[in-house]
Symmetry: C2
Subunit: 703 residues, 2 copies
Amino acid sequence: MASSLSLANHDASLQNKIDMSNARKRTTVDVAVMRDFVYNGHNEWLRKEKIIEVLSKDPVFSKEGRDFMTRTEKYNRGLRMINRVSELENSLGWTKEESRLAMHSLDEALPISLHLTAFEPVFLAQASPSLLSTYAPLAAKLGIFGCYLQTELGHGSNVSALETTATYIPETREFEIHSPTLTSSKWWIGALGKTATHGVVQAKLLLPDKKSNLKDMGPHLFFMQLRSLETHKLMPGIIAGDIGPKAFAGFAATDNGFARFDHVRISKENMLSKFAQVSDKGEYIKPPHAKISYGGMLYIRSGMVTSAGWLIARAATISIRYATVRRQGNKGPDGLEFQVITYPSLYSRLMPILARAYVYIEMGRALSRSFNSMSARLATGDTSLLAELHATTSGLKVLCTTASVADAESARRSMGGHGYSVFSGIGRAYADLVPSVTFEGENFVLDQQAARAALKAYRTIFASGKAVTSFDPASLPPSTSYLRLLITSDSQPPLLTSASWLDAETLIVLLEWRAAALVRDFTTSAASEKTDMWNVDPTIYQRVSKAATEAFVAGQVREMFKTVDANNGLGAKEKQVLKKLYLLFLLTTIETSLSDFLAFGLLRMPDFISSGVTDPTRSLRRAISALCKEILPEAIGLTDALGLSDWELDSALAPYDGAAYQALWDRAQTEPLNQEEIPNAYEESIKPMLQRGQKLAKVGAKL
Amino acid sequence: MASSLSLANHDASLQNKIDMSNARKRTTVDVAVMRDFVYNGHNEWLRKEKIIEVLSKDPVFSKEGRDFMTRTEKYNRGLRMINRVSELENSLGWTKEESRLAMHSLDEALPISLHLTAFEPVFLAQASPSLLSTYAPLAAKLGIFGCYLQTELGHGSNVSALETTATYIPETREFEIHSPTLTSSKWWIGALGKTATHGVVQAKLLLPDKKSNLKDMGPHLFFMQLRSLETHKLMPGIIAGDIGPKAFAGFAATDNGFARFDHVRISKENMLSKFAQVSDKGEYIKPPHAKISYGGMLYIRSGMVTSAGWLIARAATISIRYATVRRQGNKGPDGLEFQVITYPSLYSRLMPILARAYVYIEMGRALSRSFNSMSARLATGDTSLLAELHATTSGLKVLCTTASVADAESARRSMGGHGYSVFSGIGRAYADLVPSVTFEGENFVLDQQAARAALKAYRTIFASGKAVTSFDPASLPPSTSYLRLLITSDSQPPLLTSASWLDAETLIVLLEWRAAALVRDFTTSAASEKTDMWNVDPTIYQRVSKAATEAFVAGQVREMFKTVDANNGLGAKEKQVLKKLYLLFLLTTIETSLSDFLAFGLLRMPDFISSGVTDPTRSLRRAISALCKEILPEAIGLTDALGLSDWELDSALAPYDGAAYQALWDRAQTEPLNQEEIPNAYEESIKPMLQRGQKLAKVGAKL
């Protein structure tokens, strides 16, 4: 077939390139300056660029053909890549952080993530000094490969119901790890299926009392060897394997696994005992804080904001590039159809996504800083920052995972038919990120926690029904700073005019008022009296959680405006455009919850109402549309500034040079079905069917 | 490994079965009676049951291992199934309709769909009698396999910009079909990649005028042979192949293809000339109605409501069954955790999905009847029903595809972590249905058309700014019946109390008022003056389209209440439960557009406001939650009544008997990675990595 392809006419690709090049020329922001801002400094960008250069040139990391691979092939390729990064770490002298950056840049959900973000941090934070001295260096150099065994076939969100047991045997100073039932099988554990040699197992600690009855001390963590370091065979008494493919072909290279333990003995030292401990006799030594082991979970959750930001960045880059070169619809004076990005139906969808990418990446960074402060204090036993971070990350995890998954799908759909091709590149990213809405805290459960935290904060202040006059609003942490609005009893939500939609501080205060109004209203509902919210209508706590979290995020955006103003590296133009992005983010945040703002009377627009306008939401929508149009000429520059290379994006619809149609054509030629003109199905199925049909049609004709 | 599995404890599965059995006992509706209703009569149900029995017992249709297949294997399996159904059609004497039902029951997006729903209907409706006499019997018996070539690499929604040409050559009475550019390549054409022998090609008809200049007559349809019936090789001058995998691994068994034509000559008879024709000399003979060829598109769109209904039915059945046996969270007096379906966060999500399944299936049937009436008239040249069906299906296609895709994903997420396993069965269905939001009319474009139709209807009545007094509201077609509310100038939206939420007619009128208010408001906006809406903010026409379509749907639901009342086959209990489902459907329809109702002052609740309630939406939400709880005990019966067998559902999480955990465990054991204890990746990647890591850790220790 290849020979006949000379028929291809390259005009369209030429136009693609012209369109992309013109879009770049229209951009007025300095892309390099903006990129340095996105990457938090020029050196960070250079470091990343250098790593990407190494990876993109190495054949081990080639993405060719990966869309045609079986899961086993994808798994094998994943392990090859992990091994190669580990080699490069040593040969090129990468720091641990650089090697992590490399692993995360591979555009594939890999088992190493579980080692790096679940196993190692928990192990380092909670293992005893003696365990650490032996295994920490091995974990750091991948001399062992770890996983984190929490979820069971029958148990997820409710950790206290886990069935796996760890029974202490004082006689031998051992724990016996056991899976008593089918439903106690560990399940979904990333890297457990075929890769991991070791794991941290969450199990119910059972201690014998004086009468030798076993007492359940709740879930604790145990370090276990799962596979032989000589043969990779499972250790005696352990059954384990892969749980099978995931929906949407997501996480194909990760061996999420199951495991069952049949009375497996491990040494007492294998309990992660930095906090809770068991004496040789089997007495329980309490941890200083009941929730001290939450650190690992918070680490994973706070990292999810950054991942969400980068998924959105990827979706924005691909969809905006494609919409720039795709022409469809009416013809302009040049006789060409318009670029689809010039249509409001496209830019009104894509500019808010771009804005969200910028905000989330920045917010992820701030959250990492908060996590590090909390973590440093936690290491010294100081748990004072834990509650605040827990409240913040619960709501944020819901907000960011929901938004990023929705944005990725919205961006994919904006590409019309071609967006459904695997070569568009967004589907893959979506498939890998979509489980984030159900793992690491199911979003409904987290919404309950976030709402509860808001309620608690409210009640602390308004214990007697009205504000304690001596209460200092400045003492409120960022997560509930919006409650200050309720303390002065005469304060009112702002009055709005159409100019208000261009004033960031007004929008931020509006978002804070909405949180204050919803939380206050929530306290008057019967639901707030329940000690848990399992039996509460979810719309109640979801609205509260969303409102409180978006008020927190609005506060973060307030800080971003200040940071931009204070940044000497940015020029006036870049500052102006960044502020437009932040403003758009705030406006669309309000738009998606309009029913709340209307229901609580927060769109106070006396001028509009007196002028006889029926629909009070129209001026907001008009402001969003106008702002999107203003940002539009900068869109390609702003996506370039996200710094994602063609190798990273791996999208036929979004090559840097714009030549999407040629790229899509070229990719299609590599499809395995095209390697032979006559498919195998012909002899087996098609031919007999056609021949029978022809015979029957003839018989029919004769009748 | 298999030997050690004796460790498995079956208690949990036993509990699964007990939970399912108890849920069945709680159901008070007669499942068989309800099922006959869903299937539109006992005979229809029997016919389907008989077909499913044949299919589910035939090894060709076994679903074992399909989740592990490559795309090529899935394609081959698909063709085997098509061939087998065609064999069964003949050997068992199935009618054409029964064989279609069989094809559609295979739970796989197959190339035959394009033959049955795109190629054949268009061919039958528009081919000349001579073409029909030769090819219609062959198409009916699969002696030829057809596809429908419209979309091009560079052109989708805007059919008038298609680049493929059909140039008439009077000398030889031939058309020359040609693809002048890369972007004119036909693309996405289902069954074209490797299967189809023939196709209907949409191409720009070029006719020579007297000076032999070519005149563009716009897109027309041509019947072409693509592959040899002897060898299956492509006909001379044609390049074709498969366009590659789709996102989310969807449509894997369908060979969506590309094709390019290099000056391919076909006989003049091959033009589909029932309506537009070309004389031997090359003169154009106009069709009687410009849009007469829209029939095929409307057929596909009206079928999409039914498909959406059955996708939702599948999602509802799987998620409700799993939520019935999954126990998680707080413990009840029996010491067991509660079934998750008892939590509002689950049943408030799942009962509305179940209600939507019932409404859409019923509505799809009504729409098919409308299509058949329209089609019968169209065949006689009467186009009077075309505009109404076009207006209705545009908005409905958007509404139903968006809702069904969202419901499938919402149901999948309701299953928590396990919902992300491919074995859950919902991901597959989602992956195959999600392109429906971008194909057969991109949803934004259709929203524009629906909004325009609403506008046109409004202006016809209110030409001079106020209603023509002589206008008879009864003359309004169902699609714009809501406009009657504006004709009597003193009519007002209903006043609401909490009892209103239980009154279907009030809810229907409320939905109609919202459409009337939005359409009226739309006419006052500048956007309504534009001849096309490409340059209009999408939120404007999307809101209008949604409002108008939901008013139409509300009208359909009004008819459903009447149908249920008149149905003698249903008992009082079934009638009552069906009405609750319809009521819930109406309530949630309002809930999802609350911002519209609030912005236009349609939630007129004087009692609430005077009693000092802050949030006027609370009573609606409370009514929804209460109604969901009322329907809950019937949920398993209502999903059973949807009549989907275990073979059809193919879900490890939703076996009829409830034993989800055992099924999930069993499926995982069949994963190819589990067939050997040591993965191939061990020698290649894992071992070198571990050994290097151990060495480096040792070196580190010595330093």
